[in-house]
């Protein structure tokens, strides 16, 4: 029997399975390897951003800059490659470094100056988006052998973006559950004062969390760049909301301290499935699309709640 701690996670997974099964029954061609592969591939960048976000939210914070980081990273890489003919690998490494640095700076503002995360990362969001627009307002296609090769590899074997995503998920699971840092994140989110009094390096953990999120969103930006082989400063607009939604739907409490990386992955799959279902439906107007997304979200939340209380009732006895 699953332990009490894992009930929310199990409930989320169960709802996803239900949803997917329901969709497979109602839509022809939905239950296929292709659709499932697409589900991962199409949401890899969102997933990466959401993984970083999971740590931030677990630590009791929030990171609004992830969407803007994606835009910045993609236009940065494209410009480096297309305009300055920098080696793609160098550009990618530089982008990761910048992302981590920006994350670390926000972390410092939050940890040292006690700036509310909402404010610090909102400033970070403006900054990243603004820098992207300064680099180039126009989107830039990338014509590089390296990116071509990645695309071909993806076609012949397996999408690189998905591989990166799954690898990061594994690493994140390890970090969250098997490292001191990971447990420290839970502790800081659970009760910052207590964590401090228990002798945890609270400031350092916070800075690391935002650095990690900066890194993850930069990586998400890279994956987005691969996904579209182009740079676009406006990419990832409002993506932070989707990332936060995925994390919270995955069972992580916005107040921090409670939640799972694995839950976030399921959260991503759920959002992706809702989106795919709507496309398969194919007759909804723009407004009905929105209403349907909202309705499905609601349905899902209620189902999750229902299964959870049922399961908790069962373990009690």
């Amino acid at each position: 029997m699953i332990s009490k701690k894992h009930i929310p996670l199990a409930a989320t997974l169960a709802v996803f399975a239900l949803l997917y099964a329901a969709a497979s029954v109602s839509f022809e061609g939905f239950f296929s390897v292709r659709v499932f592969t697409n589900l991962l591939n199409d949401n890899a960048f969102l997933g990466l951003a959401a993984i970083g976000m999971t740590f931030v939210i677990l630590s009791g914070g929030i990171d609004l800059s992830v969407g803007a980081m994606i835009g910045f990273t993609s236009i940065f890489i494209a410009t480096m490659i297309q305009r300055y003919h920098v080696n793609p690998i160098v550009a990618i490494v530089a982008a990761l470094a910048i992302g981590s640095l920006l994350g670390a700076s926000m972390g410092c503002l939050i940890a040292w100056f006690k700036l509310p995360p909402f404010l610090a990362t909102l400033a970070g969001m403006f900054f990243a988006r603004g820098m992207g627009l300064i680099i180039s307002m126009e989107s830039i296609p990338i014509k590089s052998g390296f990116f071509k090769a990645i695309e071909t590899f993806g076609y012949n074997f397996y999408p690189v973006t998905t591989i990166v995503f799954l690898a990061v998920v594994l690493i994140a699971l390890y970090v969250a559950h098997f490292t001191k840092f990971g447990r420290g994140v839970y502790a800081v989110g659970g009760s910052e004062d207590s964590a401090m009094l228990m002798g945890l390096p609270v400031s350092r953990i916070k800075i690391m969390v935002y650095t990690l999120s900066g890194f993850c969103s930069a990586l998400a930006g890279i994956v987005y760049t691969i996904y579209t082989t182009s740079g676009n400063a406006t990419a990832g607009t409002t993506l932070e909301m989707d990332a936060i939604a995925a994390v919270v739907i995955g069972g992580t409490l916005l107040t921090g301290g409670v939640g799972y990386v694995a839950g976030t992955v399921v959260g991503i799959l759920i959002l992706g499935t809702i989106q795919t279902m709507i496309t398969f439906e194919g007759t909804l107007s723009s407004w009905w699309t929105r209403i349907a997304i909202g309705g499905l979200l609601l349905l899902f939340i209620f189902l999750q709640r229902f299964i959870q209380t049922r399961a908790q009732g069962a373990t009690r006895k």
């Binding site: 490292t179 502790a187 009760s191 964590a195 228990m198 002798g199 390096p201 301290g257």
Partner: protein
């Protein structure tokens, strides 16, 4: 930073080898002010190796503040701290730990959603192959808890445990740390005699190993049982350092309070109410959680004590009465009418009040003022429309601040800035101000100093005289014996007996509990 601290620790060890008989810890001329209060003024304190040194003082005397300065949780304004002749300047508990100071703070500081095991090992988890060795964490935690004679599932979250278990977890964590100075700020405030004994045994063993232990408690019996020396603070000033054996109780009390008082007379609760007074509340077959088939009744003007060991289900019974937990079965009658208390709000409407044991999570509203904390329940009962005027609120809070001698600069101070004992008084004031027909007090005197405790006991008697009934739960059996007209004895969720009037005594309760144990 970590490496720095480590090097520091190494150097300290070196000094230790050269030092000889210098005191282990020395604090000189420490001052600390908060807005409006001088919490510490020029305080000195020394701790020797192999010594248990108690810090004494009224609520708000500055004990916890001194501890927090020592452990780097607060920064001192002036003064110096030395460990074995070497000056230290901890900026955070993290640094203090690296120097070898381990602490249990007054307010249990744990991460509620992590397990007991994780809380014990947080920040120093044993690693194997680059990952946390969860097996060792669990085994280690079990051993640490067993050392305090507690055999429980260390995988459960701290949130789900009673406050006593939480306190023991925090103690287990502190004892498990590799330290030389151990600081315990009111670790026994909600422990029963049995657990206290266990803790003292461990402390004595550590003393034998050369540890220096700083101990704070408001239980004089415990102080005299365990301490070698006493340092007494009053209003943030040092008023004396004495060997425990040289300082009689009454002298200690007058040192603490700054005036002569005779020790609290141990009066009994007075004669039992006559049987013909009809009980106004009857509980029949109340079950839920660990509680099984509880029957009891409360008469007007009566103090009904609940006695039992850790986890006996006293708190849960009270929470069912108050509508926090839902009873699985059973009925509650008030004035011969069956009532359902589906929420605390309903219970309050029916005339029940409940002062919870978990001060930090269920009691104080930390950033609201003392005034707002005191009138909270009263205002909630009046509803949102009939707001008490600020003037009225001030009057009420002033009355209780005076009555319970709550040490605060003014009623507008956030309650979080009060000392632990004074916070407890504020919550007590909240429920007294409500003047309910039945007041359930769960560990109401937690962390309250001797003087105030007497004051509160007197007040309880007055209230009963006025017809209020009280259910009194306390881990300090003496208190229960002293104040109750009748006592319900519980074990593992069931009522195992009831004592009344002259039959109530420490030995009779202990006998009842022990009898059933076989």
């Amino acid at each position: 930073m970590r490496r720095g601290a480590y090097r520091l620790a190494e150097e300290i060890k070196q000094i230790e080898r050269d030092a000889g008989d210098a005191p282990l810890l020395e604090i000189r001329g420490v001052c600390k002010s908060f807005p409006g209060v001088k919490a510490l003024e020029n305080v000195d304190f020394t701790l020797k190796r192999g010594e248990i040194h108690s810090l004494m003082g009224e609520n708000g005397a500055g004990k916890s503040t001194l501890i927090k300065i020592l452990t780097g949780a607060y920064r001192r304004d002036t003064g110096q701290i030395t460990i074995e002749g070497r000056r230290i300047d901890p900026h955070s508990p993290l640094e203090a730990q690296a120097i070898g100071i381990s602490a249990v703070f007054q307010e249990v500081n744990l991460i509620p959603d992590l397990s007991i095991a994780e809380n014990i090992y947080l920040g120093r988890e044993p690693m194997a192959f680059g990952r946390i060795d969860w097996k060792r964490v669990h085994r280690g935690a079990e051993a640490a808890m067993r050392r305090l004679d507690l055999d429980i599932d260390v995988g459960q979250s701290v949130r789900s445990c009673s406050i006593a278990v939480q306190q023991l977890t925090a103690i287990a964590r502190a004892l498990d740390v590799d330290a030389r100075v151990l600081v315990l700020d009111e670790p026994t405030s909600s422990l029963a005699a049995h657990e206290v004994e266990k803790l003292f045994a461990v402390m004595r063993k550590l003393r034998g190993e050369g540890f220096g232990i700083v101990f704070i408690s408001h239980f004089l019996d415990q102080i005299y049982e365990i301490s070698d020396r006493l340092t007494v603070l009053r209003n943030g000033k040092l008023v004396g350092v004495h060997a425990a054996s040289d300082l009689p109780r009454l002298e200690l009390i007058s040192l603490m309070l700054g005036r002569e008082i005779s020790e609290v007379e141990e009066t009994s609760a007075g004669e039992t109410r006559k049987e013909e007074i009809k009980p106004f509340l009857k509980a029949r077959g109340l079950s839920g959680g660990v509680v099984k088939k509880m029957d009891f009744e409360v008469r007007p003007g009566e103090v009904l004590g609940f006695a039992g060991l850790l986890g006996a289900g006293r708190t849960e019974t009270a929470q069912m009465l108050f509508g926090i937990d839902r009873a699985a079965s059973g009925t509650v009658e008030m004035d011969e009418e069956q009532v359902r208390t589906a929420s605390p709000r309903r219970a309050i409407e029916k005339g029940i009040g409940f002062c919870p044991e978990d001060r930090r999570n269920a009691g104080i509203i930390p950033n609201l003022s003392v005034r707002e904390n005191i009138v909270a329940a009263l205002q909630a009962r009046r509803g949102w429309l009939r707001r008490l005027s600020i003037k009225k609120q001030r009057e009420i809070s002033a009355e209780y601040i005076k009555m319970l001698s709550i040490a605060t600069t003014d009623a507008e101070k956030p309650v979080a800035h009060l000392s632990g004992g004074n916070q407890q008084k504020v919550i007590l004031a909240r429920w007294l101000a409500l003047q309910p027909r039945l007041l359930i007090l769960d560990e109401p005197t937690r962390g309250i100093d001797v003087g105030a405790k007497a004051e509160i006991e007197k007040r309880i008697k007055e209230l009963c005289g006025g017809g209020m009934s009280i259910i009194f739960i306390s881990s300090e059996l003496e208190e229960v014996v002293r104040d109750s007209h009748r006592v319900v004895v519980m074990r593992e969720g069931s009522k195992i007996g009831e004592l009344a009037g002259g039959d109530i005594s420490l030995s009779s309760i202990i006998k009842l509990i022990a009898e059933k144990e076989v």
